[in-house]
């Protein structure tokens, strides 16, 4: 079985930047995933024990779904159209109409209902982005950029994934570029993306966001075993590590993506200083992986000593310091 039309699918690190990149590449604007990520200011951190969801403190490694798409397209002067629907029939009709015109469209979906996902990774999460680019008798052809190849999906499954309810309910959301400038000012967009990332990581007042969020998690995590007991503490560590590494939306993966962005930005803006910062960001990403490794040992029960949590706390304190210095230097460099 092969797709009725060619689509410039590219294997990507993050679903949202992958989807956005693929939609624009299909329309002739071919930019790298790191560039979309940097221009869209994808790097973020929030941790607060004051607010709880499902009994767990809130830790976010990423901005809200579609925030990258909105920020990146705005900075490049691309006009996007977003459509949400009240019912599945209208949403399906609209999708088919756009596909029959030869357009590719971005969709927001719930991972749990996508049959081509590995069973181990099917969790209720409504913020997964992918591209639908063709229809045949049996279903839809999707470019889900976290996979290596395009996939085929049965219509009922896609409807379910588009109309799952709960937090970040997609309500059938579809989106596509309406107009793309002939000569977008990429350098200017890069500067805007960097400035905004620095703001997110350094300047948000009052809230434990950015490097202060990383510090807040560091202070909290050391107290978990005493305050919550061994089992709960372990469950929360598992959750943290899953969000940053397994689900692939934060932690080291995002640091490497941002490091790649800095390297590309350094070339485009002719600022050699950004190459040094890119190398430092890579080193920071490596350290996030070490943090995840210690966390995994705690989950597995191969580290049961109280020191292990202290070690996690020390990692985070150090990471917060390094990231703070990096973003200050980055702001000064542009």
């Amino acid at each position: 079985m092969s797709a009725p039309r060619a689509f410039p699918h590219r294997h990507s690190g993050h679903c949202e930047t992958g989807t956005l990149g693929a939609l624009l590449r299909d329309r002739g604007l071919d930019l790298s995933e790191p560039l979309w990520f940097g221009v869209g200011s994808g790097l973020f951190f929030l941790h607060t024990g004051l607010l709880k969801v499902g009994g767990l403190p809130v830790t976010a490694y990423r901005v809200a779904p579609l925030a990258i798409v909105r920020a990146a397209t705005r900075r490049l002067g691309i006009r996007m159209r977003y459509e949400r629907f009240r019912d599945a029939e209208t949403a399906t009709r609209r999708l088919e109409e756009l596909l029959s015109q030869g357009l590719a469209v971005g969709l927001q979906t719930c991972v749990y209902w996508l049959p081509y996902f590995p069973s181990t990774m099917r969790f209720q999460f409504n913020g997964h982005n992918l591209v639908a680019f063709a229809r045949d008798d049996a279903g839809y052809w999707l470019s889900d950029t976290v996979f290596e190849e395009v996939v085929h999906c049965a219509p009922e499954a896609l409807v379910r994934a588009r109309f799952a309810r709960g937090a970040f309910a997609p309500r059938g959301l579809l989106y596509y570029p309406e107009s793309i400038p002939d000569d977008p000012d990429i350098e200017d967009a890069i500067r805007a993306g960097i400035r905004s990332t620095c703001r997110q990581m350094l300047d948000i007042p009052l809230l434990p966001v950015g490097v202060r969020g990383i510090r807040a998690l560091g202070r909290d995590i050391g107290r978990w075993p005493a305050r919550l007991g061994v089992d709960r503490a372990r469950a929360q560590v598992a959750q943290i590590v899953r969000m940053q590494e397994e689900i692939g939306t934060g932690g080291a993966g995002f640091r490497f993506l941002f490091a790649a962005f800095l390297a590309e930005a350094g070339l485009r803006l002719v600022l050699p200083a950004l190459q040094d910062l890119s190398r430092e960001m890579t080193a920071i990403g490596d350290e996030w992986r070490q943090f995840a490794l210690v966390g995994a040992h705690i989950c597995k029960g191969t580290r049961t000593d109280a020191d292990a949590y202290g070690e996690l706390a020390a990692f985070l304190a150090q990471l917060a310091g390094r990231e703070e210095r990096l973003f200050r230097a980055l702001r000064a460099a542009i």
Partner: protein, 134 residues
């Protein structure tokens, strides 16, 4: 991370590969496909073990007649009563009531159909638990 350090452990991806950004020999960032990382497997298993334990506890409660089969399917789909209410369009209050076996047994076909649809099951499957043989 260097390209040759990208982990290739058989992990949660079931043979698929994820895209990782890593440095090639010249120090340029490239995309390297990874079969997975041991760390992901450990934390993923931790999460799935918790789901399995919860499901088994609910199954025993259903068998003991303490909660309705609805609770079982809800847990399979990783939903709580709030999310189930949102997915069926029923009120949270009604969903909680329907978790009681006696109330569940008297539900109309129309309501059962809404639940079945939310779980991706047939109405007949809704009343059964796997391993109960009917």
């Amino acid at each position: 991370m260097k390209a040759h350090e990208v982990p290739q452990d058989d992990s949660v991806l079931e043979g698929r590969r994820r895209a990782c950004y890593a440095l090639d020999a010249q120090g340029h960032y490239v995309v390297v496909a990874s079969r997975g990382w041991e760390v992901e497997r450990i934390v993923n298993e931790h999460a799935r073990d918790a789901l399995r334990e919860e499901l088994e506890a609910v199954r025993l409660q259903v068998l003991a007649g303490k909660v309705s089969a609805l609770a079982y399917h809800m847990t399979v789909c990783q939903m709580d009563y709030r999310l189930l209410a949102a997915n069926t369009g029923l009120s949270r209050f009604r969903v909680r009531r329907h978790l009681r076996p006696k109330v569940f047994a008297r539900l109309s076909h129309a309501v059962l159909e809404r639940y079945a649809h939310a779980f991706g099951l047939s109405v007949a499957e809704l009343a059964r638990l796997p391993g109960l043989g009917g």
